[in-house]
């Protein structure tokens, strides 16, 4: 569980919010001319990056408004929160210094296993 800063109400617990998938997915301007593949891309295909991801959330139990949020999916760090009518801000990923940017502890990545000083000698 983590705290999410709603752009209207301020910081609240995650249990008040609902996830609403990827942000900035725009409906095609000329739907008549779309191929099946382009329709499938619009309807079904979403990015699933490891790292910074712009997504929509709704403050379902509070003010009931959608808003956009940029989150590092590897560390759950929230990098930016902005209203639906605001442009996407530029954010510095600020990823941990590991090969692919995941958290050093608890990510399940054995390549960055933390070696405690006591283990070093054996």
């Amino acid at each position: 569980m983590f705290l999410i800063p709603c752009p209207y109400c301020g910081e609240r617990d995650q249990s008040e919010f609902a996830y609403a998938y990827q942000a900035h997915v725009h409906r095609p301007k000329d739907p008549d001319r779309l191929t099946d593949k382009e329709w499938a891309d619009f309807v079904f295909i979403r990015d699933n990056p490891k790292g910074v991801f712009a997504e929509r959330w709704i403050h379902a139990a509070g003010c009931r408004r959608y808003f956009n949020l940029m989150r590092n999916t590897a560390t759950d760090e929230i990098l930016a929160v902005y209203r639906i009518d605001e442009p996407q801000p530029k954010v510095e990923p600020a990823l941990p210094a590991t090969p692919s940017g995941e958290a050093p502890i608890g990510s399940g990545n054995d390549a960055v296993k933390v070696v405690k000083p006591a283990e070093r000698g054996s």
Binding site: C9, G10, C63, R64
Partner: protein, 208 residues
């Protein structure tokens, strides 16, 4: 002939009390109107009817002429009136806001109001919600929607009770009102509130 019989969601409950520690009662049929619109466009006309400006700061409220205006969202307010005058208030609002983009809905019978107050009320409510209810974080007049155990409700810090302890109003949907009532009684059991058996017979264990 059937006589029309208006019953509140918690008509089967009576006020329960643990003296100054906590007390709990339903305020049946309190008028509730949803008002939606842009504050800049409907604010002045609505203020003429309501007797107070629409509160625009998030999670705030304002007191008007025998009614209260609660901030629910950036373009949404609830108008809480005394029982029986909600239709009149809604009609006057509709006349005053004619021609402006807005919406009013009477949700009096969709929600009910539970008044919960007392010396230990913040400890009671904190068992059910993640909101910070300390008087610095949740001062008089503050409004917040949140989850209370498994149900959504809107909490309003409305005033003080006769012992000068905080008094909150909880606006909860009809279908989950009995659940929340029994859970509030359970949360206040250590302070002396009597056990309330849920209608649906469910059981629970609260973190202490």
């Amino acid at each position: 002939m059937l006589e029309p019989d208006r019953r509140s969601p918690l008509h089967h409950r009576t006020e329960i009390s643990a003296e100054e520690a906590a007390h709990l009662r339903e305020l049946p049929f309190q008028g509730k109107i949803v008002l939606r619109g842009d504050a800049g466009s409907i604010g002045d006309a609505a203020a003429d009817v309501l007797g107070a400006q629409l509160p625009v700061e998030p999670c705030g409220s304002a007191l008007g002429a025998n009614l209260a205006i609660l901030w629910i969202g950036p373009d949404e307010w609830w108008i809480i009136t005394e029982a029986g005058v909600e239709r009149d208030t809604q009609a006057r609002l509709s006349v005053a806001l004619q021609g402006r983009h807005h919406q009013t809905v009477d949700v009096t019978d969709y929600y009910t109001t539970i008044e919960v107050a007392g010396l230990r009320v913040i400890e009671m409510l904190s068992k059910l919600t993640t909101l910070d209810l300390h008087r610095r974080a949740f001062p008089l007049g503050r409004v917040a929607g949140s989850m209370f155990a498994q149900t959504q409700a809107t909490l309003w810090h409305a005033g003080s009770d006769e012992y000068d302890s905080p008094s909150f109003r909880l606006f909860v949907r009809w279908t989950t009102a009995d659940y929340l009532w029994c859970l509030l009684a359970e949360a206040g059991r250590e302070f002396g509130l009597p056990v309330q058996e849920p209608l649906a017979g469910e059981t629970w264990r609260l973190a202490r």
